[in-house]
């Protein structure tokens, strides 16, 4: 019979426990390990003790978990939702962006000016719009039915136009559409008649059920006191040129973004037509010329502009004059034919071009603007004011004569 060695002495319980828990010193650990390797009894004890400890640890872990839960797995049970949720979010984002692009090409706002209007508007010629095709279409419409005027631009809104257009772009597609809509309408009127109504309305404008008083912003000269009512139509931008005064009032409540806005024009502008403008995202981007502060081809900002679509004249801070014959798509420098330093541009009969923008217009100011609109010339004559106070005029923007 084979006999296995039996040790007379074994590590005590403390030492075996400490060995299992690895709390012995290195020397003691090696000593105990050597004993265990040769002692079946101690090995058996250790493995049994270890088994009990593992079982107890497992049951303790079970006790810590409330019934019906999966412990650490509980937190991972709904991880699978993350994938579909992420995909859904991505899909929605892409859809929104695509809708934005496509939606910009859809008709967004229809403004109708009726003779029995209650809103007086200051109408100015529209800002340069690169999308000349749209302008032409609008101009055609305005020519065909001049009795209806879509919006009310004021020249004093020019300075506000850039930030507002920027705001429109930054807000939502709808607000941008509103702005473009107004711009196109103004462009149409300016091209066809030399006078028109332009309104750049943001979504906020339409969503606010407040009356759309497009005549709110009027020039300091023509409309000295430009009070607050316009402030309610935050997004209304009225191009600078060809001031025409009217009064318009929106339909009672315009609560949605894409809806028909009925605007009544004053008697002075009853020749305006109803313009349905289709605004595209590309056209909106084209307005960045305005939104970017009227940046000219030489990189300078325009300090003064005069618009009689499709012609746009602009001068920079150095007095350089630029002419665009296609509503801002292309520019050419106009050689200096005047003495002194050009500081202002305007259309004939327009008191000022770059007066500070006011947020609102009082009824008086609207009346004055209306009168100015009545007096607006049918053939645009550009005027250039130099720092010497001299006035130069031109009908095509290229050839200038001293007056």
């Amino acid at each position: 019979m084979n006999r296995t060695p039996q040790y007379e002495s074994h590590p005590d319980t403390d030492q075996l426990t400490a060995f299992v828990e690895h709390t012995l010193t290195d020397i003691e650990q090696r000593q105990t390990l050597a004993h265990i390797a040769g002692c079946a009894r101690c090995r058996e004890i250790i493995y049994l003790s270890q088994e009990a400890a593992a079982e107890d640890a497992g049951s303790a872990a079970q006790n810590l978990k409330p019934s019906g839960q999966l412990g650490w797995l509980k937190g991972w049970r709904f991880v699978w939702i993350a994938g579909p949720a992420l995909a859904l979010a991505l899909f929605l984002t892409v859809s929104l962006l695509r809708w934005h692009d496509h939606g910009a090409a859809e008709p967004v706002t229809t403004a109708r000016l009726s003779p029995e209007t209650q809103i007086k508007a200051v109408v100015a010629s529209p800002p340069p719009v690169p999308a000349s095709a749209v302008d032409n279409q609008i101009a055609k419409q305005s020519t065909q039915s001049p009795a209806k005027l879509p919006a009310i631009p004021t020249k004093d809104m020019r300075a506000q136009a850039a930030p507002t257009t920027e705001m429109i772009e930054k807000r939502t597609p709808v607000s941008a559409m509103g702005g473009m809509h107004g711009m196109d309408m103004a462009g149409g009127m300016g091209y066809g008649q030399g006078a028109g109504v332009s309104a750049y309305a943001s979504r906020g404008t339409f969503q606010n059920a407040a009356p759309v008083n497009a005549g709110t912003a009027s020039s300091a000269a023509a409309l000295p006191s430009a009070p607050a009512p316009v402030s309610q139509i935050t997004g209304v931008i009225i191009p600078p040129q060809q001031a025409a005064v009217g009064e318009a009032k929106s339909s009672p409540v315009i609560s949605q973004q894409n809806e028909t806005v009925e605007v009544a024009a004053a008697s002075a502008i009853t020749d305006a037509q109803i313009v349905n403008a289709r605004v595209t995202a590309k056209q909106l981007r084209a307005t960045r010329w305005m939104a970017g502060g009227f940046k000219l081809p030489n990189g300078q900002l325009a300090v003064s502009t005069a618009t009689a679509l499709p012609r746009i004249l602009a001068i920079d801070a150095a007095g350089n004059l630029f002419l665009s014959a296609d509503a801002g798509a292309h520019w050419q420098s106009v050689p200096s034919q005047w003495t002194g330093h050009a500081i202002k541009l305007r259309l004939q009969g327009e008191p000022t071009h770059n007066a500070p923008v006011t947020d609102a217009a009082t009824p008086d100011s609207v009346q004055k603007a209306s009168a100015a609109l009545t007096a607006a010339p049918s053939t645009p004559v550009f005027e250039l004011v130099t720092n010497e106070g001299k006035l130069w005029s031109s009908t095509d923007g290229m050839t200038w004569a001293f007056r």
Partner: protein, 313 residues
């Protein structure tokens, strides 16, 4: 049947008795002693600072503060050893050994249920487990008397490991010892199938037996523990890894490397014994039952120094 911890008799292991058999408690710096005493919360179990110092001194001397017996521990080693003790559990165990009722209530609340569960796990029997737990609990309670005095095994707990682990090990010891005692005719080691008598002791088998014996005898203790645990005790890789504090994959790699090394070493020894390589490889293919070889004997008969101290229980 459980034993309620009611009115435990004061154990004879009192502070005075401890102090009389141990070096002066002043061996522990007062600041350190105060720190350890506060950390142990021994005051909750009616153990004074002096009594606790005596307990610490006894434990330190018994384990020589974790350094080899022939080495004199330094002050830092003593401090390190004492600070690494599980002081709270040590105080609780000593409080129970002293018969403090609050300590017993605490012990009962913390460990009674665990004791039963562990015993059932160890014995793999509900009935045997409960019996084992009850017997140990009564023993811990101090129902066992020696020289007319009640003694509690808890007094031997030194705090080097957890009290829970100590209870597990104690239960396992009881179970193994009971098994050995009741199965005296067939002890655990004798369950091995005895090696059959070699029919013919050829030169190859003799050389192989010697080579295997030599190779196994040269193994380190941890390598022998691996082989014994896996091949003889049939422990799983997980159990072995848990014991050695490594991952089971590491145990698997070690085993593979070890068996590969053993094969090469035995081949080398066979060739050194005069066998050709081919003959040596053929010798490795001999049926192990044809060998007069007891691996358990070989693996457990290594030169292991016995512990200087017998098991305390």
């Amino acid at each position: 049947m459980g034993i309620a911890p009611l009115q435990p008799a004061k154990a004879s292991i009192g502070a005075a008795a401890i102090a009389s058999t141990l070096p002066a408690p002043t061996a522990i710096p007062p600041v350190l002693l105060e720190e350890l005493w506060q950390a142990s919360e021994a005051a909750c179990w009616s153990i004074t600072c002096e009594e606790f110092a005596a307990i610490l001194m006894r434990i330190g001397n018994r384990h020589n503060y974790g350094v080899p017996q022939e080495t004199q521990p330094t002050a830092d080693q003593r401090t390190h050893f004492l600070r690494n003790l599980r002081l709270a559990e040590l105080a609780l165990a000593q409080g129970c050994a002293h018969g403090d009722e609050a300590a017993w209530q605490r012990f009962f609340m913390l460990y009674r249920e665990h004791l039963t569960r562990a015993a059932i796990t160890i014995t793999r029997s509900e009935t045997a487990g409960r019996d084992l737990a009850d017997s140990l609990y009564s023993e811990l309670y101090g129902l066992t008397t020696r020289d007319g005095q009640r003694r509690s095994p808890l007094a031997s707990y030194s705090g080097r490991g957890s009290l829970l682990g100590w209870l597990n090990t104690t239960l396992a010891q009881r179970h193994v010892d009971d098994h050995r005692r009741t199965c005296r005719e067939t002890p655990l080691e004798e369950l091995d199938v005895a090696a059959p008598a070699a029919a013919e002791s050829s030169h190859e088998t003799t050389a192989l037996r010697l080579a295997v014996a030599d190779s196994l005898s040269k193994l380190h203790s941890d390598e022998r523990l691996l082989l014994v645990s896996y091949y003889l005790d049939r422990r799983t890789l997980l159990e072995i890894g848990r014991l050695l504090g490594v991952h089971e994959a590491t145990v698997s790699r070690k085993l593979k490397r070890l068996t590969g090394y053993l094969r090469k070493d035995i081949l080398r020894r066979l060739q050194a014994a005069g066998l050709s390589r081919r003959a040596a490889e053929e010798a490795l293919g001999i049926d192990p039952r044809d060998l007069d070889l007891n691996l358990r004997t070989l693996l457990q008969s290594s030169d292991v120094k016995p512990f200087s101290e017998k098991a305390s229980l």
